[in-house]
């Protein structure tokens, strides 16, 4: 099981970094690729959009330190490169559009099953999903379960790659409501979305990625 670390320890760097923004500076996959700089304030939602292949997912993965590249990312004095990668990823958690599952049932993936059940209820999902085999649930259910799995670890920042791409409109709104709640509680959100209406509903800032770089939409 995985647990949130440091957040509850007085004077831990993770606790001292609370309410500090996530700053990404000159992140790039390397020579020949554009570099991106971006700031996500704690308790805010930043949306990313742009054509396919422009590097939205790559940027999220670079921030989470899942791919090699150049540049840096930090939260106050917590610098990505100077702290263990697994601790960084618990603070800044990336959730893929179609995230993977490594065992069965679903509950075996949840660090805090009680918290997971509460979030499932908030999303209007059945508690029985906790006993399901991940491969046997729908892609939309898996997508929301992936979000729940990440949320119960209480990351400071969530990097969500098209978190509602497999959902119907009603489920999409439920996810957005949940995201708004965690945002108000101080979690920073960086979301890739192709839906302008969704961006308008949830994002405080909106950036558009192109092959040449990052530009703020409606600054």
């Amino acid at each position: 099981m995985l647990h949130a670390v440091g957040r509850d320890v007085p004077n831990s760097p993770e606790r001292l970094a609370a309410a500090q923004p996530l700053v990404a500076e000159n992140l790039s996959r390397g020579s020949g690729h554009p570099a991106f700089s971006l700031t996500v304030a704690a308790g805010s939602c930043v949306a990313l959009s742009g054509p396919s292949g422009s590097g939205k997912s790559a940027l999220l993965r670079l921030i989470a330190d899942l791919d090699p590249g150049t540049g840096t990312a930090r939260i106050a004095e917590l610098v990505r490169e100077t702290m263990p990668a697994n601790r960084w990823r618990r603070l800044v958690t990336y959730v893929a559009a179609d995230s993977g599952w490594w065992t069965s049932p679903v509950s075996a993936h949840m660090a805090d099953p009680e918290a997971a059940r509460r979030l499932l209820a908030e999303l209007g999902m059945s508690e029985s999903l906790m006993k399901a085999v991940p491969d046997n649930v729908s892609s939309g259910e898996r997508q929301r379960l992936s979000l729940v799995r990440a949320l119960i670890q209480r990351p400071r920042f969530l990097l969500l790659d098209e978190p509602t791409s497999a959902l119907d409109p009603e489920s999409t709104l439920q996810v957005e409501e949940l995201l708004m709640r965690v945002k108000q509680e101080g979690t920073g959100l960086l979301i890739v979305s192709h839906d302008p209406a969704q961006v308008a509903r949830i994002a405080d800032r909106h950036y558009v990625l192109s092959r040449t770089g990052l530009a703020e939409a409606n600054p």
Binding site: N86, T103, A150
Partner: protein, 266 residues
């Protein structure tokens, strides 16, 4: 009892079973007859050559020649592990990943045998060292190549699950834990089956050979037990070392999954 001396006619008659199997392959369109024929011809040529070469090496009884032969065997086994992989590493890892574990496991276990049960044999006496290292090396090579192939194939297949675990804060050994356990089992299945079935389902090759050559069956069984322990120990050490190295090679110091280091076999 004296050893059975085999003539060329005896060997040709034994090959009849293979000819019948190839005929079945042709009739049933299984398309394995050419592979069988090539492998059989290769086996005959290799064994006759090695027989001739060992006759010379045993007669020469030179430590330098023996060491050279041992090194050549390890290099050949390293290449064999590499060539059996569906997905291969780029750069030095392509040989290092197989070569290092099989060298460590083989030399350690061969050394252990030569300093304990077979202590009466001189270390570099080719008549003892070459066959002993050969049988241990072959076994380690099989287990290691099976484990590595299973591991790299599973990593490709389970990429999303592994990355999900890494994203949630698992380190690389936790994220690749299930894949590693499964690959280790894969690599050790042959030697575990061999031990479990020894004497009941099959008479192992070494014991069969020694009984045919005139040794007392109980003494032959003791030799076989000794060898099975050595083979199982070396195989397990090789597989564990190979899967450990594989995790280190397929990830980097920031615990990222580095599939860009792999290429699929053409």
């Amino acid at each position: 009892m004296t050893p059975v001396n085999l003539s060329v006619t005896d060997l040709l008659l034994a090959a009849l079973s293979l000819i019948i199997a190839s005929g079945l392959s042709i009739v049933l369109a299984l398309n394995i007859h050419s592979s069988l024929a090539v492998s059989a011809l290769r086996m005959v040529a290799q064994l006759l050559l090695v027989g001739l070469m060992l006759r010379y090496v045993f007669a020469a009884s030179s430590p330098t020649v023996t060491l050279f032969i041992l090194a050549a065997m390890i290099v050949a086994a390293t290449y064999e592990v590499y060539s059996r992989q569906q997905f291969r590493f780029r750069g030095w890892r392509r040989f290092g990943l197989g070569g290092l574990p099989i060298t460590i496991a083989t030399i350690f276990v061969t050394g252990l045998a030569l300093t304990t049960a077979l202590r009466e044999a001189a270390w570099l006496d080719p008549r003892h060292t070459i066959p002993l290292l050969g049988i241990i090396l072959g076994n380690v090579m099989n287990g290691t190549s099976l484990a590595l192939n299973a591991m790299l194939t599973s990593i490709q297949r389970e990429k999303r699950a592994i990355e999900a675990r890494l994203s949630l804060g698992a380190d690389r050994f936790l994220a690749l834990g299930e894949v590693r356990v499964s690959a280790t089992r894969n690599g050790l299945i042959p030697v575990i089956n061999q031990m479990a079935g020894a004497g009941i389902i099959i008479l192992p090759g070494i014991m069969t050979g020694q009984v045919l050559a005139g040794m007392d069956p109980l003494d032959a069984a003791k030799y076989q037990i000794l060898l099975m322990f050595l083979l199982a120990g070396a195989g397990t050490i090789g597989v564990i070392a190979a899967t450990q190295l594989c995790i280190a090679a397929i990830t980097d110091e920031r615990h990222r999954l580095r599939l860009d280091r792999l290429i699929a076999r053409e």
